[in-house]
């Protein structure tokens, strides 16, 4: 197509998207410079939800921080707990019983399902579908949250993991309930896909929008489904094989172009793989202890838990990417340094690069497809 020369003088329009905007997923602000509907520059402004998470954690005991990690990425408290537990176990050299590992994997994969369906629901909401996909997604999410409530006592702020295991054992009723969800979930995914994946408007809106090239993604240390949608085969569940992920048979879906559509579809395929892991874990879960008995005294007296001087970095593949906790101990009950490698924040760094030149409406869905949670971004 030939480009028509613009002979008329035009002005740009500076506009603030957020922090009070329905589609910024919280209190996020984008300072945009618009030329008509096209974005000339975009500056993310963060920090509206900053609440000193790391500083607080450096002034309280290791065990007390567990409840605070729930508030990081409030959509999947289970995986935040998981990453923190792994970091502390590495620091203090605590072993985890077999059954506890299985319970951890089951909870982490359930959290992945919750996260991905919620993200897709909100992405469609950003695209302008009037709440229908979101409410369909929430219907399934409720069932999983019911499980979380039964095992941990809370729907979202689970605080379920402990150093060396989990807080409470799963009963047989819990396991059958989870199995039922796993069995019924594919039917829901089919329904969801019939409504969405083949929808022409959705394809038109998503395809070739916000393309993130593989080299840019790697250079900006993007992780998670956003990276895999760009075609890079990197999943910490496979790379590290932490916990017991090496025992399960699952595969990593990869995208082709790295646009919004790939990010959307990779998440759907990842849910199918998660279901595979859940199915295997539920069938193989052994009997035994759910918590390392040696850690019981620390649970009762958290101030007695003083890991030896040293440092540790524990990371997992959270639904949003690589979630890591870096801990430095100086032999006191509090960590000397506590740092969170938050995937939401680091994935957000490419937002400007992939938004420039797109339309306003595209910026919204690109932000939705990157999948941020402000609790984690601002900490």
């Amino acid at each position: 197509m030939t480009q028509v020369e613009n002979r008329h003088p035009s002005e740009t329009l500076e506009i603030n998207f957020g922090p009070q905007h329905p589609s910024t997923h919280g209190v996020f602000r984008m300072q945009m410079l618009l030329d008509g509907e096209k974005i000339c520059s975009l500056k993310p402004v963060l920090g509206y939800l900053h609440r000193n998470h790391e500083q607080i954690a450096e002034n309280i005991t290791y065990a007390a921080s567990m409840a605070y990690t729930d508030r990081l990425d409030y959509l999947n408290a289970m995986t935040n707990n998981f990453a923190y537990a792994i970091a502390v176990e590495k620091l203090a050299g605590i072993e985890v019983p077999e059954r506890a590992e299985y319970i951890r994997v089951i909870m982490a994969e359930l959290a992945r399902l919750v996260n991905h369906i919620t993200v897709i629901g909100f992405l469609l909401n950003d695209m302008g579908a009037f709440f229908t996909p979101l409410l369909y997604a929430f219907r399934e999410r409720e069932k999983i949250l019911d499980i979380f409530e039964e095992v941990s006592g809370s729907r979202m702020m689970c605080n379920y993991f402990r150093f060396g295991g989990v807080k409470r054992d799963l009963t047989t009723e819990n396991l059958t309930a989870i199995m039922q969800i796993v069995r019924r979930f594919p039917a829901f995914l089919e329904e969801f896909e019939a409504l969405l994946t083949k929808n022409e408007i959705l394809c038109m809106r998503c395809q070739n929008v916000g393309i993130l090239p593989a080299n840019l993604a790697v250079n900006s240390s993007i992780t998670g489904p956003v990276l895999r949608a760009s075609g890079v085969n990197y999943d910490i569940r496979k790379v590290d094989g932490y916990s017991i992920y090496k025992r399960f048979d699952f595969r990593i879906p990869l995208g082709e172009k790295g646009d919004v559509y790939d990010r959307y579809f990779v998440r759907i395929l990842e849910m199918r793989e998660s279901l595979k892991i859940l199915y295997q874990a539920l069938n193989k879960i052994p009997q035994g202890e759910f918590l390392n008995k040696k850690t019981l005294p620390f649970l009762k007296m958290p101030r007695n838990f003083k890991p030896a001087v040293g440092e540790a970095y524990g990371r997992i593949e959270s639904p949003k990417g690589e979630l890591g906790f870096y801990l430095v101990s100086d032999g006191t009950p509090q960590p000397w340094r506590y740092h969170v490698r938050a995937p939401s924040l680091i994935n957000l760094t490419v937002l400007e690069d992939i938004c420039i030149g797109q339309k306003v409406a595209d910026a919204i869905i690109i932000l939705g497809s990157i999948d941020i949670v402000l609790g984690e971004t601002d900490r």
Binding site: D262, V360, I364
Partner: protein, 395 residues
């Protein structure tokens, strides 16, 4: 129609009940007051009926929409106020009246306050030419259709007034989108009506309905090849004209918050809302009139046929809202100019062709013409078509 005479009488009486009621009132008046007052009263009765009908339809359309969308989304919708939530619209109205009326400090106050008034007037004015039933058109204009198209296109101006007068950047973006969208969709909409005018040889809405009578009153224009295509184009344009999803860019909630009515509160917002719903109703009514035979139909009274057809179309609009994501602005314009407009021009050609050849060969020819042109248009619009993707599963 072959019906027993008694049934036929009853149907006829029910059919004309509103017309007869007006006749009785005027009859009664003519005994008491001079003639010129009777003429005046005849105008006032029709006017009041329309002024009451418009807002009442709007109120209950909001309820219908909330109920239907609720059912689409696995929930109940409003059911607390009155049985089945039937008093909900009244509660909403009271709420709207008691809300604080906010005018932004830097707004152009005259234009800001004028816009919601200006938008309601054309929405009410188009009710004049909608044929609600046999002999139930308020004003039987012989240029009714032209009047409808002219008046309904005024809606663009108050929306732009509102968006400019509010002095809000989101509103401004919404206003620019509105101007672009409504003007472009008016072109295919007007052209899709042309075959109807050609066939019925009249611009009067009443005459158009009467020309669709035929056997069993079912000789509707939608049962012709050009009628189907014309109806689909007209209906899509109507959805775009009244800013309903998937063409709701001017008020895109997730992008520009509420577009042109971001800064409006209370009753001023309600007036915008009212105009939108009344426009939706009249556009569906006109679509039913032009292509679905208006009030023509066997057995049932005419106004029931008309309202039934209109509400079916409105339910389709609500269904769209419950299922579809929104278009992007360039895709929206491309759809109007690169797809709908050529198709309407071909449709006019086909309508002319069908007029001069027999019905059967007409169907065959038009099928061939439409499939070829559709294929060509899809080919030319290739960059906007979805592509198939392949997703490898790595280890």
């Amino acid at each position: 129609m072959n019906m027993p005479p008694l049934l036929r009488d009853i149907e006829f009486a029910v059919d004309l009940s509103f017309v007869n009621a007006k006749g009785w009132i005027l009859d009664l008046l003519s005994h008491i007051v001079p003639d010129w007052v009777v003429v005046f009263a005849s105008i006032v009765i029709s006017g009041v009926a329309i002024l009451v009908l418009g807002p009442v339809i709007m109120m209950y359309l909001t309820l219908l929409e909330r109920k239907l969308i609720g059912r689409i989304q696995n929930r109940y919708g409003p059911n607390r106020v009155g049985i089945w939530g039937l008093l909900q619209p009244i509660a909403d109205g009271i709420k709207m009246f008691t809300k604080e009326d906010i005018v932004p400090v830097y707004a152009d106050k005259v234009i800001h306050c004028l816009a919601p008034i200006v938008i309601v007037i054309p929405a009410l004015m188009v009710f004049l030419v909608v044929p609600f039933g046999e002999r139930m058109t308020a004003v039987n204009l012989n240029i009714g259709l032209l009047y409808f198209i002219a008046v309904s296109s005024i809606t663009t101006i108050p929306i732009f007034m509102g968006s400019w007068g509010s002095r809000n950047k989101y509103s401004l973006l919404g206003g620019m989108r509105t101007a672009a969208q409504m003007i472009s969709y008016e072109v295919p909409m007007t052209l899709s009506v042309v075959p109807v005018i050609m066939m019925s040889q009249s611009l009067s809405t009443n005459k158009i309905v009467l020309s669709q009578s035929g056997s069993y009153d079912m000789n509707w224009f939608i049962f012709t090849p050009w009628g189907i295509v014309g109806f689909i184009i007209f209906f899509l344009c109507a959805v775009a004209e009244c800013n309903r999803p998937p063409f709701d860019l001017p008020e895109a909630e997730s992008e520009i918050i509420a577009g042109f009515h971001t800064e409006y509160s209370g009753m001023k917002f309600a007036l915008f809302y009212m105009a939108e719903y009344m426009n939706a109703f009249t556009l569906c009514g006109i679509a039913a009139t032009l292509f679905l035979g208006g009030w023509q139909g066997p057995f049932l009274p005419s106004w029931i046929w008309f309202l039934g057809k209109t509400f079916v179309l409105i339910c389709v609009m609500i269904w769209f809202r419950g299922t579809f994501p929104r278009f992007r602005v360039d895709q929206l314009m491309g759809f109007a100019w690169k797809f709908l407009l050529p198709l309407t021009l071909i449709n006019i050609l086909v309508a002319g062709l069908c007029h001069f050849i027999s019905e059967k060969t007409g169907w065959i020819y038009s099928f061939i013409i439409f499939s070829i042109s559709f294929w060509v248009l899809v080919r030319l619009n290739r960059p906007w078509m979805p592509e198939k993707r392949h997703y490898p599963l790595a280890n």
